[in-house]
């Protein structure tokens, strides 16, 4: 501040801060995010996120609907990784009602969940490259994601908003030849991933644009409650899949990629490596998938009593659901923890002192989905 005053008083030259509204309509705010930005030339002095443009009262609606009617709403929180949000809600209800989920359904959930992570990271890879001005990588990523969405469509009937999980299992079994289709896909995918590394990762401009940009230290990340790739890029080895295993994650061995510097480049590398790990997990799941029912026994009349907290590792971080029942068939209260909401608070830390271009890279690197921030 002192420096600013001194400069404004220097004779002859007068400079002013520029206040810019970035969004809600802006090409790289990933939806309807508004960033109140104060600029000194190109330098960002302050960046405050203004959210709420996509608020849909999800939590309140969840209190008014019957439980099974809430599942489609969970899809719409993180619409790019809908299975994860369905999963956490379904898990919370199952925990409270003590419903057993058959083995096959567990496997289907497990495979779908990891495929979803790949799909979401692919989309992120594309949009992040786009934020840095590399438009072609975007469409390449889209190609791979498209095939994945075709698989999802064949299984669930929908491409993005599935409404597929049920209390006690999944709505329907996978189609015949699911295993071979996914296997084929994974083989191609791993080949393509190498192309992406060649196209983007080793690029000097890309490295210069991301390394040392939008740094979050491990302390800051923990203090703000970051999770997922954002936290791991800062060097904290924390993954709900490892630390509080759900589904079948305790059965299979997988790496949790960790970064060092907490900059955009590390967040990028963590996600890229996560995709490889996800592919491995899917392979494991496919190999061991048993036959049998996909729906467990669910009580006819649902009476929700007590409270519970379920959490999972979604593509973006730790998604959690706190569910309270008062003995009726509806939730008394539903609290949703969305990682993007938490990560968005880190925006100012990442952007301050950087340039506008870095602000854009930072927003992109935390993989923001406004539907999840606002709910």
């Amino acid at each position: 501040m002192q420096e600013m005053v001194a400069r404004t008083e220097s004779p002859g030259i007068r400079s002013e801060e520029l206040f810019v509204n970035m969004g809600p309509q802006h090409p790289s705010t990933h939806g309807v995010l508004r960033v109140l930005t104060r600029l000194d030339g190109e330098k960002v002095i302050d960046a405050q996120a203004d959210i709420g443009y996509l608020h849909r009262c999800f939590e309140k609606i969840a209190e008014k609907r019957q439980l099974f009617q809430v599942i489609p709403y969970t899809d719409r929180t993180d619409y790019l990784a809908a299975i994860h949000d369905e999963l956490v809600f379904v898990m919370a209800v199952e925990k409270l009602l003590e419903i057993e989920v058959p083995e096959r359904a567990q496997y289907i959930r497990f495979i779908m969940s990891e495929l979803q992570r790949i799909a979401s990271h692919l989309l992120w890879f594309g949009t992040f490259a786009m934020d840095l001005g590399a438009t072609t990588a975007f469409l390449y990523a889209w190609r791979e994601r498209e095939r994945l969405l075709d698989i999802f469509e064949a299984v669930t009937g929908a491409r993005m908003l599935y409404n597929y999980l049920r209390f006690g299992g999944v709505r329907n079994d996978v189609f015949d030849g699911f295993e071979s289709t996914v296997e084929r896909y994974l083989k191609d995918f791993e080949k393509r991933l190498e192309d992406y590394h060649e196209l983007v990762t080793g690029n000097r401009i890309f490295e210069k644009r991301t390394q040392g940009v939008g740094v979050i230290t491990a302390e800051e990340a923990i203090a703000y409650g970051a999770s997922g790739p954002v936290l791991r890029a800062s060097g904290v080895k924390y993954d709900v899949r490892k630390n509080d295993p759900y589904l079948l994650y305790d059965r299979y061995d997988f790496e949790v990629p960790v970064g060092k510097n907490g900059d955009c480049y590390d967040r990028y590398m963590v996600r890229m490596q996560e995709m490889v790990e996800s592919a491995k997990l899917v392979r494991h799941g496919l190999a061991d998938m048993p036959s049998g029912d996909v729906m467990g026994k669910v009580p006819r009349r649902i009476k929700l009593e007590g409270d519970t907290y379920a959490r999972i590792e979604s593509a973006r971080g730790e998604v959690a659901c706190y569910l309270v029942g008062d003995g009726s068939d509806r939730a008394y209260r539903l609290k949703w923890r969305s990682p993007c909401f938490v990560h968005l608070q880190l925006l100012n830390i990442m952007a301050r002192g950087g340039l506008i271009a870095d602000l854009v890279a930072s927003i992109g690197s935390i993989d923001i989905v406004m539907g999840e921030v606002d709910r």
Binding site: V20, S28, A134, T135, N203, I205, A357
Partner: protein
């Protein structure tokens, strides 16, 4: 230019006043050049979309005509028939003038470009200086457009491009000077002749060419240096508030500059219109389109550099490199 002399004397014989007869040949030349630019730009816009499409495993425009070949024509019709919007609060005169100030020099540069041994509107003996002077005009138009738009994004875009164009002009001109030194002339026609007598200058000027190429990409506001219109950062930069024909004119300028760059690159480093078997004009166009394709290829491959990195590259990288190159060229010319 026999045709034009004949036209001139014919007009004088027909009793047309001398001043009017003097005026007609240049006007006809200008018209031909304008037509050349317009047609090529329309083709280039289509080509850019096709190149981008095929690189991104898409088709690009397909519906209007075979493989969308008349897509640009349809776009022109659309742009002409659009409402002419001048937003509230803009500096009216400057806003209206900016696209014209942008296009006029981009158009005028074509005057000195040799399309063939005789196909040149005016063989100036200071052609290179003329080009350097005119192409730097574009800064003014960007600044005018950005400043008058009364939009912060436009202003930021204009500021960026001003800094960028001024910085990159220096290495660009120095790398061109090295070529002039080799040829011993500033006239483009004579530079081509000099290369026909010896060899293409790319052989002795690889560094100079690299500097020229990089600086040109910056001058053209092309990726990876398209900072002034960085969509992801500045919405559309200096032309955010422009629409309809005014926007089309700014767009046209961009592509006209692209042709200019390609023409100069092939003239200075790749022997211009010279080449075996095929007629000179064809050779010239082949070379020009090769460079245009190269620029498009780069655009759809690389991410964008940041504004501070851009300045660093310009002043700390290209400028010393071009100076060293110039020094070596001087020595080479002395001992040749």
């Amino acid at each position: 230019m026999d045709m034009f002399t004949a036209m001139h004397s014919g007009l004088v014989q027909m009793g047309v006043p001398l001043w009017l007869a003097n005026l007609v040949p240049p006007l006809v030349k200008a018209l031909i050049l304008l037509l050349f630019i317009l047609l090529n730009c329309m083709f280039l816009i289509w080509m850019e979309r096709k190149v981008a499409g095929h690189m991104q495993r898409r088709m690009g425009p397909m519906r209007t005509g075979p493989h969308g070949i008349i897509q640009s024509l349809a776009d022109v019709i659309k742009l002409i028939s659009k409402e002419d919007i001048i937003p509230n609060g803009v500096d009216r005169w400057v806003f209206v003038l900016a696209p014209i100030v942008a296009f006029a020099p981009a158009f005028a540069v074509f005057m000195v470009i040799p399309f063939g041994p005789t196909l040149i509107a005016q063989d100036l003996n200071i052609a290179l200086i003329f080009i350097a002077a005119l192409t730097s005009f574009v800064v003014i138009s960007f600044l005018m457009a950005g400043w008058s738009s009364n939009n912060k994004w436009s202003l930021l875009g204009a500021m960026r491009s001003t800094a960028q164009l001024i910085s990159y002009e220096v290495p660009l001109v120095i790398s061109v000077v090295a070529v002039a030194l080799l040829a011993g002339s500033l006239s483009l026609q004579e530079i081509v002749e000099a290369q026909r007598e010896s060899f293409w200058y790319i052989l002795v000027q690889p560094v100079g060419f690299l500097v020229f190429l990089t600086a040109s990409l910056a001058e053209l506001n092309r990726s990876p240096f398209d900072l002034s219109e960085a969509e992801q950062e500045l919405v559309a930069g200096y032309n955010t508030e422009y629409s309809g024909m005014r926007w089309a004119l700014l767009y046209l300028t961009e592509y006209a500059n692209l042709i200019t760059f390609a023409a100069i690159a092939s003239t200075l480093f790749f022997g211009g219109w010279s080449g075996p078997v095929l007629p000179p004009f064809v050779w010239f166009m082949i070379k020009v389109y090769f460079f245009i394709f190269l620029v498009m290829w780069i655009r759809w491959t690389l991410p964008r550099v940041r504004v501070d990195q851009l300045m660093e590259l310009g002043w700390k990288g290209l400028l010393p490199l071009s100076l060293v190159n110039l020094a070596f060229t001087g020595v080479y010319v002395l001992i040749r």
